[in-house]
């Protein structure tokens, strides 16, 4: 939490006190980890969360309110925490360890096994969980609470840092709201209302939410009556209808930097690390292979999973395996042909890779269909595919690497290299969206602030210095490039599709005839 703290050498006394407060909070949490039994858990818990929050607030006020409004990146590359120094590595290792314990060894956090009472840090959170939903805490409840707290506290810090920038403030408010309400409170209340319902954060959309179509989840929805059914339908509509429409209108930012929880943490708690993303061309190449492989994996995995449970009791669901697999293939084919016919130009050189991806999926699905028995797919035990995805992608990639490595690889490692949802949204953004970052004529001085602070590792300057709009599938529309640009060159806009992608050889400001001659060639 207050890991972004021990940065400046010259912090004021007040800030030191604030830092101390935050550390006291962390200390209590770690004491709890070692099973120190606190007398009045409820008070201790509130106290802990309270001092961490207050510490962050006081520290941020000291950092930003003492200065005039403006860009606050002084010393970013000198501070150990934000430049992969000692504190950066320490934070990275601590976070990574925390995620490993959280995902694989929750008993060390004090999770009571087989109905035993919670102890340790999880036990500490029991009172809060009881208050919200009348049940004891789990490791996920503890994680969810700390996660939400991080977004809120660092969101506040972000607010102060960008207090001259309304775009930054509005979108940060948005992620804070969605995290608190949709990811944290509403699922708890939903449980209170109807405890058959599976945990469902309705803003978390498949394939990011890879378990929504799990058997237990779907069954849970179906047994929970109309509300369950409605939620399931909403889940399906989210990805197939709502997502494309919103992305068409606003670009993928509507999700990635306004709504999504992963994005929310990256933008707030991860803000100090955005400059660490690699801008090398090689990183971009790696990104494209990785993220699309994860997408293929997630589509195949989900289809296989649904396919399995459709199999064994053919009368339980109205859908049969044959119909299901045919409709998945049909849908993918429609999308593929549609893109190849109508968007071939935008797709350009990437068309080849799109085709590879498409045929890979179809081939995998067909192999599955023809080798599949009830409990074996691809000759491996069905279910292992799903658990492999859960462990390698869901836990290790998105959690351990995605967040644990913030201070080393930047705050959007998961979003950039792994998130299958980002891949789908990015695809839509690249091909069918009104969103782009417009560059301002010839004003760019190639300084590099935009590229440095782009958390997605986009070399924004490469476009800006050519006067070319930025239309990139990975851009999450955080708007930081536009904020840090000292010459007012970049503007995030939703405008018409026409002329969105422009290529210039010669920039505005030169001889009009020369520009015509060269650019219209």
């Amino acid at each position: 939490m207050s890991l972004a703290k021990p940065d400046a050498l010259k912090i004021t006394i007040t800030q030191k006190v604030a830092l101390g407060l935050g550390l006291v909070g962390l200390l209590i949490l770690s004491l709890a980890l070692f099973n120190v039994n606190f007398p009045n858990k409820s008070i201790i818990l509130w106290l802990t969360l309270g001092v961490i929050t207050i510490g962050t607030i006081i520290y941020s006020r000291g950092a930003y309110l003492t200065k005039l409004e403006g860009i606050k990146n002084d010393g970013t590359w000198f501070k150990s925490i934000s430049s992969r120094g000692f504190w950066g590595w320490s934070a990275g290792i601590l976070l990574t360890a925390f995620y490993i314990i959280l995902y694989f060894y929750p008993e060390y956090l004090g999770l009571g096994k087989d109905g035993a009472e919670n102890t340790g840090i999880i036990g500490l959170f029991d009172p809060l969980s009881q208050l919200l939903s009348g049940r004891n805490a789990s490791q996920w409840f503890v994680y969810g609470t700390l996660y939400t707290l991080a977004i809120l506290a660092f969101g506040y810090k972000f607010f102060l840092k960008y207090r001259h920038n309304r775009y930054q403030q509005v979108r940060t408010f948005s992620v804070m709201f969605f995290q608190l309400a949709f990811a944290f409170l509403i699922p708890e209340f939903m449980y209170v209302m109807n405890n058959d319902l599976p945990y469902y954060d309705i803003k978390s959309i498949w394939p990011l939410n890879y378990y929504i179509f799990d058997e237990w989840s779907v069954k849970g929805f179906l047994t929970a009556g109309n509300i369950g059914l409605a939620l399931l339908v909403f889940g399906i509509l989210s990805i197939f209808v709502i997502t494309p429409i919103l992305t068409y209108k606003y670009g993928k930012r509507w999700y990635c930097s306004w709504v999504c929880g992963c994005g929310g943490l990256a933008e707030t708690a991860g803000d100090s690390f955005r400059q660490l993303s690699s801008k090398k061309l090689t990183a971009w190449k790696l990104e494209r292979w990785l993220i699309h492989s994860v997408l293929v994996f997630s589509i195949v995995m989900t289809t296989a999973m649904i396919y399995t449970y459709l199999g064994y009791k053919s009368n339980e669901f109205w859908l049969t395996r044959g119909v299901f697999i045919t409709s998945v293939i049909a849908l993918l084919t429609v999308i593929f042909i549609g893109v190849m016919v109508f968007r071939h130009k935008e797709f350009g050189k990437d068309a080849k890779y799109g085709a590879i991806g498409y045929f890979a999926i179809i081939a995998l699905l067909l192999i599955m269909h023809f080798t599949g028995t009830t409990d074996q797919l691809f000759f491996i035990k069905s279910g292992s595919l799903r658990s492999a995805y859960g462990i390698y992608i869901g836990s290790i990639f998105s959690g351990v690497i995605g967040t644990g490595f913030y201070p080393i690889l930047g705050n959007r490692v998961w979003c950039r290299f792994g998130c299958p949802m980002a891949a789908i949204l990015g695809f839509q953004q690249r091909l069918f969206s009104k969103f782009r970052i417009t560059t301002n004529g010839g004003q760019c001085i190639s300084c590099g602030n935009c590229s440095t602070y782009c958390e997605m590792g986009i070399d924004v300057r490469a476009y800006a210095q050519k006067g070319e709009n930025i239309v990139r599938s990975s851009c999450v529309g955080c708007g930081i490039c536009a904020a840090v640009c000292p010459r007012g060159v970049l503007k995030l806009e939703n405008d018409s599709m026409k002329g969105r992608i422009n290529t210039n050889e010669i920039l505005l400001g030169n001889d009009v005839d020369l520009m015509k001659l060269v650019n219209e060639k």
Binding site: G70, N73, N440, G441, G442, Q443, A482, P486, G509, D511
Partner: protein, 455 residues
Amino acid sequence: MAVKDLTIPSTIFLLTIQNNMEHIVIIGNGISGVTLARHIRKLSDKKITLISGETKYFFSRTALMYVYMGHMKFEHTQPYENWFWKKNRIELKLGYVKSVQTKSKTLHFNSGETLQYDKLVIATGSKPNKFGWPGQDLDGVMGMYHKQDLENLEIYAPNNETCKRAVIVGGGLIGIELAEMLNSRSIPVTFLVRESSFWNGVLPEGESAMINRHIINHHIDLRLSTNLREINADENGKVKSVIIHETGEELACDVVGLTAGVSPNIDFLQNSEIETGRGVKVNRYLETNIKDVYAIGDCAEQHEAIGNRRPIEAVWYTGRMMGETLAQTLCGNRIKYNPGHWFNSAKFMDIEYQTYGWVHGSKGRPEYETHFHWKHKDDTKCVTIAFNKNTNEFLGINTFGIRMRHETFDKWLTEKRDVDYVINHLSEANFDPEFYATFEEQILKAYYHQLQTAI
């Protein structure tokens, strides 16, 4: 006999190869030289060599300040990855050219090496002005132009313990950047400005006054109408203090930044036949008096100024535009350097500034040019629109704290819109991020209010 028969055609063959592979040598790997090299590569297969005595790889000079401030590392200021040059077959040479022999088309390096060229382009940029102040070469006295200046600053002003105070001499764009840099490390700064108000040779009064206040709000000791008399040394030859000309006051300091403008960096041409004035003299085709020798960027001086422009234009954009233009000429399509409407931008601490067309300060303002000025009450945003008081034609705009769209103003200037049109359509030109407060209505109101009072 047989041998001779063979040699004749093969010499011809060699010659043609050499013709195709004409060797273009560019001295200076700044924005102008690099833009030129890139465009030549796009248009042709010629052999290109880029020389610099400063750094092997191109970096953005305008970003030097951000390295000192810790916003970026030096490598972030390099717009192209290191493999780019090899891939595009642009040869890089690190070395300082000592002299040029145009007759034999030879360059002589400091190291004693030589290099032959077929065509030579001089793109050596600028160097900081020094006006002969006593003590101007002491340790701890520096300009702010080259990467070496930055390294020097890092030695003499790493923090506010080693550098208890810095004095900056010269109130221009680089001076205020240097002030911001030192300020970011909490080093107290005294800023000596010769003019009665910051940069008022260029900025109209209202804007210049607003920037004065902004500088002071950053706790910088701004001294207007103040000149430097001399710089004093301590026993080790390092700067100890400066004396102010007007008052004789002695100011203790550890660093003196000389930022009183720049001039072309062309001393190495002194003994060549290339004609120079303040800069390398060129015609509209960027050709010098010597065949096959050209000059672009900060170091080029037009025989006659183009329009309202100065004969030497020491800005990023013009360097780039000259590079774009000269590449055409060198690749067989001889065209004039013919820049479009003037534009520029800068940032004064936290206030961004953009300009399109011509808005003059009190100096050199044509008699027909008059201004409409609006300032926001928070004292960080203002707009000045210049127009012809006889014809109402829109001449240009300065905007502070509000971003505007280059393309829109370029179009309006070409269309010769009048000032009413511009003020009424200002929102079309707005380039601020989404959700920002807009001020067009206020501006419009202020405009009509001023009109009425004027009548």
